[in-house]
Amino acid sequence: MTGTNSIRETFFQECEELLEALFEGLADIEAGVSEDETINAIFRAVHSIKGGAGAFGLDPLVQFAHKYETVFDAVRSHTLEISPDVLGVLQRAGDQLSDHVEAARDERTLNEGADAAVLSALGDLLGGDDADDEPEGEFVFDAVGIGFDPIVVDDAPVSTGGGYKIKFTPTAAMFLNGHDPKAIFALLREVGDLEITLDHSSIPPLAQFSLEEAYLSWDLNLTSEASEAKVRDAFEFVEGLCAIEISEVEADGSAGAPPLSIDPPASNVAEEIVKPAPTPTAEVAKAPAPIAPTPIAPAESKKDKSASSPKATLRVDLERVDRLINTAGELIINQAMMAQHIEELSLPRGSAIAVDLESFKQLAREIQEGVMSIRAQPVKPLFQRMARIVRETCDISSKQAKLVTEGEMTEVDKTVVERLADPLTHMIRNAVDHGLEDPQTRLDAGKSEVGMVRLTAAHRSGSVMIEIADDGGGLNRPKIRDIAIKKGLIPADAELSESEIDNLLFMPGFSTAETVSNLSGRGVGMDVVKNAISALGGRVTIQSVPGEGTTFSISLPLTLAVLDGMVIKLADETMVVPIASILETIRPMPNDLQKLAADGDLLSIRGTYVPIVDVAERLGLRSRRERFDDMVLLLVETETGGECALAVDDIADQRQIVIKGLQDNYGQISGIAAATILGNGKIALILDTDALAASNQDRSVEISNVRNRKEQLDVAEAR
């Protein structure tokens, strides 16, 4: 049933947003900036998850969410004060809730032990008041139950007192959102005595019956002295999803006031909570579960309700966006080609066409930027997940740590955000597990026993900087060096600078943990982190001060579709090198160049010797050059943190280029990252500097050893 599946998908998408809102609220509470509205927002988020889960028959999720919701209800009604301990439980339960959502999405079952532990912790918060421990009967129903028989719920006798006459007609969208009329009736019952009559007159003959429509409506007689606002509050969650007519009934039973339009202010938050109906035996007929893939409407109505995200948003298929991005890329290329052709005409300066072209160029670039920004997403959800990683790591490593995040609204390309999750998780774990000392050591060193991990994001000149900083003991360089020697990664007599030692962490097969803990050292080393970031066109650097802490800085491109490139000439071919990977360009003087044995060439730069890679030879474009003094050398960093000079014929230009994958129609080529299209319409290949530099390493082992021995100066990194 594709219809159901797409609704399911929408539900889980919404769950993600709701969980985000939940964690945002929890973070606000932690930061001490919470208001009543924060709790309300959290409550609504959990409640919406519960409601949706109920519609899909996801019982474990419903049960957990219910318990969780009950606790927030207690907080809301101020019967439970939030202390740090309570907050801890709430956060853990939030983690568990997101696990539940994930498990439900993947149709797995969760580890019951963890679940029970969290549930009992939540139960403890509620004290002995476990009266409503049972999951609400009204939420446990199967998703496609169809009850055609009208049942009059007559558990409340008709009263002669004043009250309201309510005509309640849900739309299909209301059921789509997982709302249950029973929940509303239960709320109304708290306001007063309720008499419910089902109006099923609009159900068509079976032949015309559509599963996607809602046909039922209810006539409600509410006997209550409560204010009309109270009555409307019951409908808060379904606002906009149903037609409601409320008319006041005088004590004598006649309709007094004219029908009231239902448009309560959004801030008017219900004080009533969903509690189990006093008589759960009441079986109210439900409209057939509507099935209609209309994801946008419910999403937006949800949005409107949530005060924390007032901006209207649109959910768009990613493929459509990517197609648009592609076309915008074409536009840029096309514009460059036109510019070139017009230049060839050698028109007089200031001619109309040149002016037009200039504004066209401007527009094309604006379109390109606008389109790229569609894919941009704040790193906030990613950072929120890291808070959980810190909590879990603390639990296992019995350390105390606090995560401080900054710049959460910094926007990065969606793919970058997605692919950053794993490396970042690993680095955060490392920061807590390896970076921070245990509480006693910290106290001895005169620090607070709670360690601090700072996660910051910021835009910096066309790239995004993400920093993971801990205030721990800093890198233990002698230990790192010993391990590297023991593992045969470096020769025992190698003399390394501090930054070179730090960079040993990124070598494949390196792990500093002496005991492989549960967290780190699960086979994913920092080399994987580095590779993942390089694959995104970024780079990682380490700064570490003994006793003060370690900072890992990740610099990432804003987008993956466009990059700043240096256009170079190589054996009659035009190629592009990403500027991000070039540390320095050098026109060598003859005495900067040194030979090493038959086919080794070294560049002398500020006292060190750097191996030279003849790119043209490596790509098989021509045989190896004997001399490099008429070439340009591009100094790049190798994956292991060393440096390497790529020899190219000349530098032609520097420009923004649109990346075109080679994989679709051809495949991977070693040494080539991708392709691009130049202004003349020809294709230029983009060099993969990491691969080119790495290809040098097999043959340059001896060279680098010599280099290490020769290296007398402790040279700081070129940057």
């Binding site: 994958g661 679709d664 129609n665 051809y666 040494g671 392709a675 299209i677 290949l685």
Partner: protein, 155 residues
């Protein structure tokens, strides 16, 4: 299946016939995206002999294959007179360099004969079948095999 309707018999198959190394070959018209004149390519490093390079086809990077080399002829020295046939094989698009395009054939499906088996023929597997024409014989290229040759598989 076929877009053209001018044919008297709509069940007919249509093929584009072209010349390569003085032999006639053909490709089913539904697999052909377009036919264009040779234009200089960007050479790919470490590519096999039959991969000439890539061209820019309205923003897409398309590899150009030397069909002659695949079929075991001498490689063509490309010039302005040569023609590139852009074909779509599954999700993949590539260009095939040929000498010249000769005609469009419309034949009944049963006219396509199985390739006679020749134990020593090098390019035999690349030929899916043969079609007798007034001019002699044309050989139907097996594009699936071309997409599967080394150096050309999509990553």
């Amino acid at each position: 299946m076929l877009q053209k309707q001018d044919s008297s018999d709509s069940s007919n198959l249509e093929f584009v016939a072209f010349l390569l190394g003085e032999q006639s070959f053909c490709i089913e018209i539904t697999q052909i995206r377009e036919i264009r004149r040779w234009s200089p390519v960007t050479i790919l490093p470490h590519s096999p002999r039959h991969v000439m390079g890539v061209i820019n086809l309205r923003g897409a990077v398309i590899p150009i294959l030397d069909l002659a080399a695949i079929l075991g002829f001498d490689s063509i020295e490309p010039s302005e007179r040569h023609v590139i046939i852009i074909v779509q094989i599954g999700e993949q698009i590539c260009g095939l360099l040929v000498d010249s395009v000769s005609e469009i054939l419309s034949v009944r499906p049963d006219v396509v004969q199985d390739t006679p088996s020749l134990s020593h023929e090098r390019g035999e597997q690349s030929i899916q079948g043969v079609i007798a024409t007034e001019m002699g014989m044309t050989r139907l290229i097996n594009l699936d095999l071309i997409s599967a040759i080394p150096g050309n598989e999509a990553a």
